[in-house]
């Protein structure tokens, strides 16, 4: 996304509610300063990654439906309701529709068995990943993967980083496990065409992991990325 005022990429995204109207501004840092927008320091990278893994940063953390001003229902969510949109799980059971992207995290544990039932026992997404998402994750995680970590890292920070690296690896492992399971089933059923498709996908996931420096692709990039 380009800056509203110049050709630089927008890094500051501002959502304001003015007499019930939602206003969005997307600015580069220079224009934002020039316009007197307070440039919030971005949350630490480890926080962003941890949020991404949990699903709390589907969007940059400073915009989105969880902005309480933009969504009164979310200001005081009932216990057990989605913190971003206020939907209760019982309401989902009744209507069949979730309220917002973050509902998937709010109700992750309750949804898992339902998804297994709808989708032939599946527990993990395999297949296409949006390019921007993959690129963002890669750029955020690459520095974390380096041996030794950033200069001046405290022991606590190092432990936090190690946990994240492990979580990212586990996420990737889950995809690989899912694909292996399907590959074995395809071979057992002598469906060699399908086995070949699954082997391609496995190769893609593992090779992108290697390219990205040992652990990056939570996503892995789109088929043609």
């Amino acid at each position: 996304m380009k800056c509203d005022c110049c050709a630089n990429p927008a890094t500051i995204h501002e959502v304001t509610i003015h007499s019930g109207k939602r206003m969005e501004r997307h600015l580069c840092e220079n224009c934002a300063r020039a316009q007197g927008v307070v440039v919030q320091s971005q949350p630490p990278v480890t926080q962003v990654i941890a949020d991404l893994l949990k699903g709390h940063a589907i969007t940059p953390p400073w915009v989105g439906p969880d902005d309480p001003a933009a969504n009164p229902a979310a200001a005081n969510p009932a216990p057990g309701a989605c913190a971003a949109c206020g939907l209760k799980f019982a309401e989902f059971r009744q209507g069949g529709l979730l309220g917002c992207p973050r509902c998937y995290m709010s109700f992750a544990e309750a949804l898992a068995p339902l998804l297994e039932r709808y989708h032939q026992g599946a527990t993990h997404h395999v297949g296409k990943v949006p390019r921007r998402f993959a690129a963002r994750i890669a750029s955020l995680t690459r520095p974390l993967m380096q041996e030794g970590g950033p200069p001046g890292e405290s022991a606590d920070e190092a432990r936090g980083r190690a946990r994240l690296v492990a979580a990212i690896a586990a996420e990737r492992e889950a995809r690989i496990t899912e694909l292996r399971k399907q590959l074995d089933a395809a071979v057992a059923a002598e469906d060699y065409r399908r086995a070949a498709l699954l082997r391609d996908e496995l190769l893609r996931v593992t090779s992108e992991a290697r390219e990205a420096g040992g652990g990056t692709p939570i996503g892995g990039g789109g088929p043609s990325a």
């Binding site: 939907l87 309220g99 709808y118 043609s224």
Partner: protein, 386 residues
């Protein structure tokens, strides 16, 4: 209703829907193939929890990127025989705010399968982008998900459909943040679509399977493979015109390639084979005269009726289409061959041309139900030389 700017040209309406052109592989049984993706923007709630203002913001956020993504697409492969752009009907993108359209125009788009029936209803802000004149790509904004992208082709053509839709998806995504999680994939309002959020379906014409009493067998085979078998008009509708849609139920834990392979290499060829064998059976021994009688009577009905309902048109056209593909109308002996035999793609196109909004657009005015029955009968008689 005298609207100055027509949504689609009169010529486009008159020639019918490109996906019914009876072209492409296995078009004797497979009418069309559709690939559909569901996508949502990460920064907004799903539509059931969106205000009208939110919907307007989503439209504004999507418009620029959708319009840009649908320009300069790779040309359709010649085998799809989509209408080529001409001076009167140049290649272009139609962006319509569906909630501002007349009821007939909404229905017209739904009859051509360019938007869903659900999208055609409702007054809340919603839009559709449609490539013209080929009508192979359409994008619905603010349907059940923020974006529903679909590609439609005649015949069995899921691979070509996926190639095109994947490209369009990448282009749209280059400007928008999709709602996505590594564990769950593309996030959708309904969890039955989550994961690849990709629905592939083929529309099949299965008159012989029905006439030989085997539709339940097909249904069971589809169910065993976790595929859905639905009627032409979607859920619930029981096989109007012997038209069935087979689509993947599972979108989570399977790659796009595997889903396509399951449909294109497993179930669909089986069903095609099943229908062809049943058609063969309808021509063997004493069954042949019975089949010929049924198909000729259907043709006779459409050539002489003075009023026809939508259901009767679909059911009767099904038998005429069967007769065409069995070559039954070439045999006019004994007796004078006064009228030319009905032929494709006209017969397939009549499926859409006899729908209510098409009849009204062809007539150039709104018609009551009774007037539509008469107009439908007139159209069928003219088309079939009655």
């Amino acid at each position: 209703m005298n609207e100055p700017a027509a949504l689609l040209s009169h010529a486009a309406i008159r020639r019918g829907a490109p996906w019914l052109s009876n072209q492409g592989p296995h078009s004797d049984v497979v009418l069309s193939s559709r690939v559909r993706l569901a996508r949502n923007l990460g920064a907004f709630a799903f539509l059931s929890r969106c205000s009208a203002t939110d919907r307007t913001h989503i439209l504004a956020a999507c418009r620029k990127h959708v319009v840009a993504a649908c320009q300069n697409l790779p040309p359709a492969s010649p085998e799809h025989r989509v209408p080529p752009p001409t001076e009167d009907d140049p290649a272009r993108l139609l962006w319509v705010e569906v909630h501002r359209l007349s009821a007939v125009d909404r229905q017209l788009l739904a009859e051509r399968h360019l938007i869903s029936k659900e999208h055609a209803k409702g007054a809340e802000p919603r839009a559709a982008a449609i490539t013209l004149p080929d009508e192979r790509l359409s994008v619905m904004v603010n349907e059940e998900d923020h974006l529903r992208i679909q590609v439609l082709h005649s015949g069995l053509a899921l691979a070509d459909g996926y190639t095109l839709i994947n490209e369009v998806d990448d282009r749209i995504e280059s400007g928008l943040d999709y709602a996505f999680l590594p564990r769950f994939g593309y996030l959708t309002a309904c969890p039955t679509n989550v994961g690849i959020a990709c629905r592939m379906s083929v529309m099949l014409h299965l008159p012989a399977v029905r006439l030989t009493g085997r539709i339940e067998q097909v249904r069971r085979a589809a169910k065993d493979m976790c595929l859905a078998l639905r009627g032409f008009q979607g859920e619930g509708s029981e096989s109007a015109g012997d038209l069935y849609q087979i689509s993947n139920q599972t979108t989570f834990g399977k790659t796009e390639a595997v889903v396509m392979q399951e449909l294109q290499e497993h179930i669909v060829p089986q069903v095609i084979e099943f229908e062809r064998r049943a058609r063969h059976e309808l021509l063997s021994g004493s069954r042949r005269i019975q089949t010929a009688d049924q198909c000729w009577r259907a043709l006779g009905l459409l050539r002489s009726a003075r009023q026809v309902s939508t259901e009767e048109a679909l059911a009767t056209l099904s038998l005429v289409r069967l007769g065409v593909h069995l070559g039954l109308f070439e045999d006019t002996s004994p007796g004078p061959a006064a009228l030319p035999a009905p032929a494709e793609p006209l017969i397939s196109q009549l499926i859409v041309l006899t729908q209510p909004a098409h009849l009204q657009r062809l007539a150039g005015r709104e018609l009551s139900q009774q007037e539509r029955r008469i107009a439908r009968a007139d159209l069928l008689r003219t088309a079939l030389g009655g």
